[in-house]
């Protein structure tokens, strides 16, 4: 089951169309299409290996799709001249040089975009890392690294944000902070795409959900609509998600035995 319900109230900024990507014999994405609109948080949820990270990497030009295309503002990411001012991203909070300070990490990113280096300190303040600015990131907890990653994503004041599992490693206080931050960013009119393998992390912050499993989009709909879809008798979003992904696993199994869909 796959449905695509474009919202008439938002302008799409990220447009992924019929993207397929395999790593050797292993298909990671199979004809994936979705859009991410401004002014809302779009959650991308699916089990591990569903293709969430691959989809984000394709958008960022880090993976070349075998078929299809991914556009940002109507252009390929690699054709953007100062990409971080259009799309901020956080794929892996641990992608840091451990000997470099948080401040220097943001400063080199700022230099690469022609952004004043002073923004680094402003951002560190905003994510609550001002006191750790000059410390080497090698000693940072995962939560601190997530905050630094958020700072890096926001550095260019981008209209779109791609965040891969940003709740990982956050303590309850951090989770609340992250939710408020995402809601605030969407309220500012930005397009926010957030992935998680736990639907619970997303259900209170996302207005729109893309359910991904086995490299396919199983659902792409507003949260309210999804909850209502099978909602005879108050089935929660988690149950909907669970049923969707189970269906996918079954059909994938039958495909593997040679049955055509």
């Amino acid at each position: 089951m796959s449905q695509h319900t474009p919202s008439s109230t938002t302008v799409e900024i990220i447009d992924v169309a019929r993207v397929s990507k395999s790593f050797g014999p292993v298909p990671a994405l199979r004809g994936v299409s979705f859009t991410v609109g401004r002014g809302r948080v779009t959650g991308m949820v699916g089990p591990n290996g569903a293709g969430k990270s691959t989809a984000m990497r394709v958008i960022l030009g880090l993976h070349r799709p075998d078929a299809g295309r991914a556009l940002v503002d109507g252009r390929r990411y690699r054709d953007l001249s100062r990409p971080l001012t259009r799309v901020g991203s956080l794929l892996d909070a641990s992608a840091l040089h451990p000997a470099r300070s948080a401040r220097d990490h943001l400063r080199w990113l700022a230099h690469s975009q022609g952004i004043p280096a002073g923004h680094a300190d402003t951002l560190l303040e905003r994510v609550g890392l001002a006191s750790a600015a000059r410390r080497r990131t090698g000693g940072f907890s995962l939560g601190m690294r997530q905050r630094l990653g958020i700072a890096a994503a926001l550095l260019g004041d981008p209209a779109a944000l791609l965040l891969d599992e940003p709740f990982n490693g956050l303590d309850p206080e951090g989770i609340v902070w992250m939710r408020d931050l995402l809601a605030g960013l969407a309220a500012e009119g930005r397009a926010v795409l957030v992935s998680s393998h736990l639907i619970g992390e997303l259900q209170h912050v996302a207005q729109h959900l893309i359910v991904l499993a086995g490299g396919r989009v199983l659902a792409d709909a507003p949260v309210a609509e999804l909850s209502a879809a099978r909602g005879s008798g108050g089935i929660g979003l988690e149950d909907v998600y669970f049923r969707l992904t189970q269906d996918a696993a079954r059909s994938q199994g039958s495909t593997m035995t040679g049955e055509q869909r």
């Binding site: 960022l60 880090l62 953007l80 892996d92 470099r100 220097d104 890096a152």
Partner: protein, 498 residues
């Protein structure tokens, strides 16, 4: 513009990892310090101060040693003489000599600015195996067109111009060469000379062998024109024997006969630039001063490889390419950063090493082979370019292999290993020279300060510091490897998913 932004970004990345900055500073320090430190542990050759090398007009080291039978000439004039015989006395073993004459044994007529070693001169001469030559300024050598047995030679001074001629019969003369020696005094020392370098022999497996040798020449029909100081010809060994000459045991310089009949001179030494190899003897060289470059290069290679492979260790490359989605541009910016750091460390290190080395050599009474200023500059700038090229090569190999340990190993195996093999005795010279032509180690040729001259026989082989390629040609080979490695790295960075 976008490249400049990425360059700034990569530079910030580089300088914000303290270990890398310290390693580059360390590379400069070891380049500057190791050579002079090593020299300071050496003792001067026994007999106190070593021989003071003579400097030629261009500041380079020269030999100015010969047996000289001379008078003073005021103003213009000529000397004519016929060389009726040129033979040698060459030691072939303890207390054994042969009459073999060295190829570059010289007998002829010379006009010299003064009796101080290293002063300007011009000379026409018969050589042991290379016919009649006109030579001046220690490095200039002109061959006569014809091969005449027992030739007549004539050297003429006319104002500042000295010209040399040869003749088969003393009647028909042919100019071999001429030179303007500006500022030549009115009074010059002029006369007959004989000199001969020692033997040089390179075995296949190079154990250079050198034996003392002298030359004996008979001059007939000596005639002069012009205003000569009255009195008879006086003879003496001029300027010792230099680095490349020595008399066989029991033989010394001297002359017999009279100018009216014939004069027979015996001499040893050379009038030629000092080169390296077996004829150099013990002296401190610029190459020795910058011996620390190799250790410095190891540090630079490790830094350059890490600068690239650190991107892969924790997936930082994804952040880098998200910020700059053009892999070629990222690679170019990184290459510029490591090249700049390498150049600074290499050139500054070499410059300090040469200054410090000269001081240490002076303090320890070890003579330093004089080298002209352009050569010193070439070695300093060249060491910078060499270091930059090695760093870029290391960066590119790091990008291809994405593993620090294997990249460092590969770069070392490709550069330092062939060099060490080539300069250690035991490898046949031909193999050593090919290693220094086709491997990236060819780039080390830029360090060579010792000159090579066709008119001086020596062991021009890698263990003696001689590269088969000219300095910049050798460096170009290394740069070629850099270009290939960079192209491979750029291709792979573009093709790979990250």
């Amino acid at each position: 513009m976008t490249f400049v932004r990425q360059l700034r970004a990569e530079w910030t990345k580089f300088r914000s990892v303290r270990a890398w900055v310290l390693a580059v500073v360390g590379a400069a320090v070891v380049t500057a310090a190791l050579g002079p430190l090593n020299l300071s542990t050496q003792r001067a050759p026994s007999g106190g101060a070593g021989p003071a090398l003579v400097r030629g007009p261009a500041g380079q080291a020269v030999n100015d040693s010969f047996y000289f039978v001379h008078r003073q000439l005021a103003g213009d004039g000529t000397i004519t003489a016929r060389i009726t015989d040129l033979t040698g006395i060459t030691a072939t073993g303890p207390d054994r000599v042969s009459s073999e004459v060295q190829g570059w044994a010289k007998a002829g007529i010379i006009i010299k600015q003064s009796l101080s070693p290293g002063s300007p001169y011009a000379a026409i001469m018969l050589t042991g195996a290379h016919g009649v030559r006109f030579q001046d300024g220690y490095t200039h050598d002109t061959a006569a067109g014809s091969a005449i047995a027992a030739p007549w030679l004539r050297l003429t001074r006319r104002a500042d111009v000295i010209s040399g001629e040869e003749s088969a019969d003393g009647v028909h003369w042919q100019v071999v060469g001429s030179v303007r020696l500006s500022g030549l005094d009115a009074n010059v020392a002029a006369g007959l000379f004989v000199t001969s370098p020692s033997t040089v022999h390179v075995a296949v497996i190079d154990v250079p062998e050198t034996n003392p040798a002298a030359a004996v020449a008979t001059f007939g029909s000596v005639a002069v024109t012009g205003s000569w100081t009255p009195g008879s010809w006086s003879g003496g060994q001029f300027g010792g024997v230099g680095t490349s000459g020595s008399y066989p045991r029991g033989v010394s310089g001297g002359f017999t006969g009279t100018a009216e009949t014939s004069l027979t001179l015996t001499g040893a030494g050379d009038i030629a630039p000092v080169v390296g190899g077996s004829v150099l003897g013990t002296g401190a060289t610029v190459e020795g001063f910058i011996g620390g470059t190799f250790v410095g290069l190891v540090a630079l290679v490790v830094v350059a490889v890490s600068f690239m492979t650190a991107e892969y260790r924790r997936g930082l490359i994804s952040v880098t390419l998200a910020a700059c989605p053009r892999p070629g541009r990222v690679l170019a910016a990184k290459a510029a950063v490591v090249a700049g750091s390498g150049f600074a460390a290499g050139s500054l290190g070499a410059a300090v090493a040469i200054i410090a080395g000269r001081h240490v050599a002076g303090a320890h009474h070890i003579y330093t082979v004089p080298v002209s200023t352009p050569t010193v500059l070439r070695v300093e700038v060249g060491t910078g370019v060499l270091s930059a090229a090695m760093a870029v090569l290391a960066l590119a190999v790091g990008a291809v292999l994405r593993s620090g340990a294997s990249a460092i190993t590969l770069v070392m195996v490709a550069t330092v290993l062939p060099y060490l093999l080539a300069v250690s005795p035991g490898l046949p010279t031909v193999a050593a020279q090919w290693l220094l032509r086709v491997t990236p180690a060819a780039g080390f040729a830029i360090r060579q300060s010792l000159p090579r001259f066709a008119q001086v026989d020596s062991t021009y082989i890698p263990p003696d510091g001689y590269f088969p390629l000219a300095p910049w040609a050798g460096l170009a080979v290394l740069c070629g490897y850099c270009v290939v490695a960079l192209a491979a790295a750029a291709f792979l960075l573009r093709r790979r998913d990250v």
